[in-house]
């Protein structure tokens, strides 16, 4: 086997080994779960492609399915690229590889190809079914099929290029500025929100196009310049779209690889301060722990990425409600009564509370905060720190993120929909208490399912079981007052909802707090 083949094989073995390193009993289960998940995702995406193509073919615009599928692939690809860039792509084994009798270009290419191997299945699952169903159901020709399949194999270059390019920019920033992590997080957040906004706009244009027939669809496709090149690459194969598409895919990819290769194996030089003035500030152990927790949080872009969205979207949504008014929001949810003006004020408040409870229920910094201690856990274990103080610092971070945003959103909504001060306080209390409850649930989930054998923070923040468990339980807890309200308490109106919400979240929160102080403490000490 050539050196290149050996290196690619080794990269895959390393990945496989990182999965195997987890507890033996869980390994088979997690392997089976992963396979099932892949099958499920593959099947869902394929079914969706067939359904969309069939529907669009019935409308006489099957070509639109190619465009829509490309848009989904690009969305996922760009998200992947952004997320990966947040971790400043590099190779921990670069020095080892360069010390071996292997050419630098071979080592770099092996890394890129391995990344391609990991990225391509998803793109294959998103785009290939559409290309095939367009050929079978939408009357596509062989040329469209072939070009579509070629593009399927070129699409994974986008996340790779984006992560390498953005990663290189972020690495430069790391050398120049002290607060790089915060800058990195800020840049990525702006990029992501910007991208989400553009994507949202495109989706709304897309939803209005089906009535315009083929001409309307083609006119709409032309509005999205880079995407239209790729669409025409598949559909027509014209010389210009082919050239533009290849340039769009290959130029950033080559540039990204060049930057990655030039940084490969070079020692990372972080920011160095020349100041000799030392600041000494004495605080209580609790505040010191909280300060450490905040700094840890802000230093990890992927952590911020994954958890700051809840409060951020909460506020954005509050502003949207203020601007558009609650009736449009409720009508947008497909509740026809809203259009007729028969939705009572109380029901409007409850529905809004329901929507706002979704955001805190899915945001928990605590769900991965114990795991993120990683190899630094010894610091907390070897020093005279009370376990309660450690827990406090961890759930307080989540509370600090969620509760002020919840209160602010409640005030905005309350003023807009003309709630009384008591109703406004009830609204804020329900959402705020849910935020507290979710923080505690996340911490319990992480204590029960900690994970310290990680190499990359992404695997903890995005892929750990505790995060998933926390989201499921947080969502379930969020639903309880609504179920109780709609089943038993409708006659008491919004006040009844607030009382039951405060009671349910309060009791559950107290239970979780008691659990943390007893069982949780023992679990932490046994880590």
């Amino acid at each position: 086997m050539s050196n290149f083949g050996i290196l690619v094989k080794n990269n895959i073995l390393v990945f496989w080994g990182s999965l195997k390193r987890r507890k033996k009993g869980r390994y088979a289960a997690s392997g089976a779960l992963m396979a099932l998940l892949l099958l499920f995702v593959g099947f869902s995406l394929a079914s969706q492609s067939v359904i969309t193509t069939t529907a669009l073919a019935a409308e006489g615009i099957p070509d639109l399915s190619i465009f829509m599928s490309l848009m989904s692939a690009l969305t996922i690809g760009i998200l992947f690229g952004l997320m990966r860039a947040a971790n400043a792509p590099g190779s921990k084994d670069a020095e080892l590889l360069l010390s071996l009798p292997v050419r630098r270009v071979t080592a770099v290419c092996s890394k890129v190809v391995t990344q391609y191997i990991f990225d391509s299945p998803l793109m294959l699952m998103i785009f290939a079914p559409t290309v095939i169903s367009h050929y079978v159901l939408g009357g596509g020709n062989t040329g469209t099929l072939v070009r579509g399949l070629i593009l399927t194999f070129l699409l994974p270059l986008i996340p790779i290029a984006l992560s390498y390019l953005l990663g290189a920019v972020l690495a430069i920033l790391q050398e120049k500025f002290k607060l790089t992590s915060i800058i990195t997080t800020g840049i990525l957040m702006v990029l992501l929100i910007g991208y989400m906004f553009v994507n949202f706009q495109s989706s709304s244009i897309l939803s209005n196009v089906t009535g315009g027939g083929k001409a309307g669809a083609l006119a709409m496709i032309e509005k999205f310049a880079p995407l239209s090149w790729l669409t025409h690459f598949v559909l027509d194969g014209g010389i210009l779209p082919v050239i533009f598409s290849l340039l769009m895919l290959l130029v950033p990819f080559c540039l990204g690889i060049w930057l990655y290769a030039s940084a490969f194996g070079k020692p990372k030089s972080g920011y160095r301060s020349s100041s000799r003035i030392l600041a000494f500030a004495a605080r209580s152990p609790r505040m010191a722990l909280l300060d450490k927790e905040v700094k840890r949080y802000l230093s990890c872009s992927i952590y911020v990425f994954n958890t700051a969205f809840g409060p951020l979207i909460l506020l954005i949504f509050a502003v949207i409600v203020v601007v558009l008014g609650p009736d449009k929001i409720i009508a947008g949810m497909g509740i026809p009564a809203a259009e007729l003006g028969v939705v009572s004020k109380d029901l409007t408040f409850v529905i809004l509370a329901g929507v706002f409870c979704l955001f805190p229920s899915m945001t928990s910094t605590t769900a991965s905060s114990i795991s993120l201690e990683g190899k630094q856990l010894w610091i907390l274990k070897a020093h005279p720190v009370n376990t309660e103080d450690i827990f406090w610092s961890k759930y307080m971070l989540n509370i600090l993120l969620l509760v002020p945003a919840s209160v602010l959103a409640s005030i905005l909504i309350g003023i807009r929909v003309q709630m009384s001060p008591v109703q406004m306080a009830g609204f804020a209390a329900v959402i705020g208490l849910l935020g507290v409850l979710v923080s505690l649930i996340g911490l319990i989930a992480n204590l029960l399912l900690p994970r310290f054998d990680w190499d990359n923070e992404t695997s903890v923040v995005k892929q750990s079981m505790s995060v998933l468990m926390s989201m499921v339980f947080g969502f379930a807890a969020a639903c309880i007052p609504f179920i109780l309200y709609f089943v038993f308490l409708q006659k008491f109106g919004f006040s009844g909802f607030c009382v039951i919400g405060i009671l349910v979240y309060g009791i559950l929160g107290a239970g979780c707090y008691f659990f943390l102080r007893t069982v949780g403490k023992k679990l932490f000490e046994a880590l």
């Binding site: 992590s181 000494f280 450490k292 802000l298 005279p384």
Partner: protein
Amino acid sequence: MRTLSSDRKYGLTSFATVLYCKYNRKMPLLFLPLCVVKEIYMLVIEHLTKTYPGGKVAVRDLSITVESGDLFGFIGENGAGKTTTIKAAVGILPFESGEITVHGNSVKKDPVACKKLIAYLPDNPDLYDALTGIQYLNFISDIFRVSKEDRSARIGKYAELLEMSTSLNTPISSYSHGMKQKLALISAFIHQPKLLVFDEPFVGLDPKAAFTLKAIMKEFCEQGNAIFFSTHVLEVAEKICNKIAIIKNGELIACGATDEVRGKQSLEEVFMELTEHE
């Protein structure tokens, strides 16, 4: 196990420690000074046994006593159980049988009280990369409730000695292994501990820093404190330690005053002899 004169202390130590711990606050005042003077050792490890999940016995029935003023070297092959013993002693690792006391406080019953008296330095100090050096030192000072004035003086002193003053405003993420080691060392002295527990403290240090550390360690013990540390550098152990323990496969195979352990041979020869033949 090699029979040494200091072994005679174990029986008395065990009895007196139990007595002291049991009657710590209830003992008649008249007897208390006697017990305190005679029996409070810095670190007492009695019959420690630690088994990891899967059944591997890392440490078996290990007993060690570190007295005030001791510079106690703990040596053994890789995987012999040194780090396990150290982690158990500082309250990081739970153990199933035996007892460990730090200055009379049980590690099992009152870990926080023990940790207030100890400073621990692991073999590979992973520190908070998100913080700068000074932020980390402030964090540790806050945990030990060290006043602003005291922390300023102590950090200044040890940072100067270990040549870290110019790097403390720099993020830890940009530190080398040796710099992290030095920062962890500075943090170890912030609260003026009575007992230092170091796991391979010389790894990663440059010759000058290693020399400085040896001087600091000696000075620390001369002030009536104690150090218990593991090392693979037998020359260092032989030169600076007044007591040495050798561990093999989780069991203590020699323990006592350095001169008694090595006899007329070098420590290296004794170590090779013991680890190959016992």
